[in-house]
């Protein structure tokens, strides 16, 4: 077993998304005005319910800090690095997913923080 990697896991609707915790500087409540563009919507999940709590993952990047809105249950879980299976080269264009943690009832899709920011900023800009 290799050294664990801490993942911030966001679970909603039977899908678990994982983001390396070392890329997230803070997790905040999201104001109503920013609830419209969420990561999970970009990944094909249903729209946000009115009673769903929404969080912002603050991610530091080369051009400053970005906030990616997510909904669902948020936990931080250590995962042995060798349990993260990278995507095959054949699927390397499936951003922002870079790997999968199998071995559980609900596998975790591991996301690349930078690609995630690009995806959400792109959607936020209405493109």
């Amino acid at each position: 077993m290799t050294a664990p990697v801490e993942l911030v896991i966001v679970e909603r609707g039977g899908v678990r998304l994982g983001v390396p915790a070392d890329r997230i500087s803070a997790i905040d409540d999201v104001p109503d005005a920013q609830r419209a563009v969420r990561l999970q919507q970009q990944l094909g999940q249903p729209p946000l319910g009115e009673d769903e709590r929404c969080f912002g993952l603050r991610i530091a990047g080369p051009t400053g800090e970005s906030v990616v809105s997510v909904a669902g249950r948020v936990t931080i879980v250590p995962v042995p690095a060798d349990e993260i299976s990278p995507l095959p080269e054949l699927m390397s264009r499936v951003a922002p997913v870079t790997g999968v943690v199998f071995g559980d009832d609900t596998p975790v899709l591991v996301l690349d923080a930078d690609a995630m920011v690009v995806m959400v900023e792109y959607a936020r800009a209405g493109r």
Partner: protein, 139 residues
């Protein structure tokens, strides 16, 4: 090796086949190409699911919650993938591949007759080239 995709029988060169598994749940990936919709674990890594029936247009698209009864693990040019199928028959060594095409199935490079059934032989290298755009038709 003959295999059934929905109601259609096709064959693939057994040289590519590494393993035949039972029903194997797979993990869907958002934004994945239509015919490579997800991944399964194999030998400690993730390999792509190839929806061969959908690619050939002979079966409905595979669904994540509906694992088919067999999963073929194939390796083509060093790339491993998992092909969900409905039935697999025993390997027929030395089967004669005829040049004539009994069907109009895409990506077939001939046909074989197995147990009285004529079926197209699918060229998995060609399928892989099409999916990766190596043949100039990226999907």
């Amino acid at each position: 090796m003959p295999m059934q995709l929905s109601t259609v029988w096709v064959a693939v060169d057994v040289v590519h086949v590494q393993e035949v598994r039972g029903p194997t749940p797979w993990v869907p990936l958002p934004g994945a190409p239509a015919h490579l919709p997800g991944v399964v674990p194999w030998r400690g890594r993730a390999i792509a699911v190839l929806d061969l029936g959908g690619l050939l247009g002979v079966a409905p698209p595979v669904q994540p919650g509906d694992a088919r009864s067999r999963t073929l693990i194939a390796v083509v040019n060093g790339t491993a993938f998992a092909i969900p199928v409905d039935t697999v028959r025993e390997v027929h060594m030395g089967a004669q591949i005829e040049e004539a095409h009994a069907t109009q199935v895409r990506l077939a490079h001939g046909q074989v007759q197995v147990g009285g059934t004529v079926m197209p032989v699918i060229d998995l290298s060609h399928a892989l080239a099409e999916l990766t755009g190596a043949d100039g038709s990226a999907r």
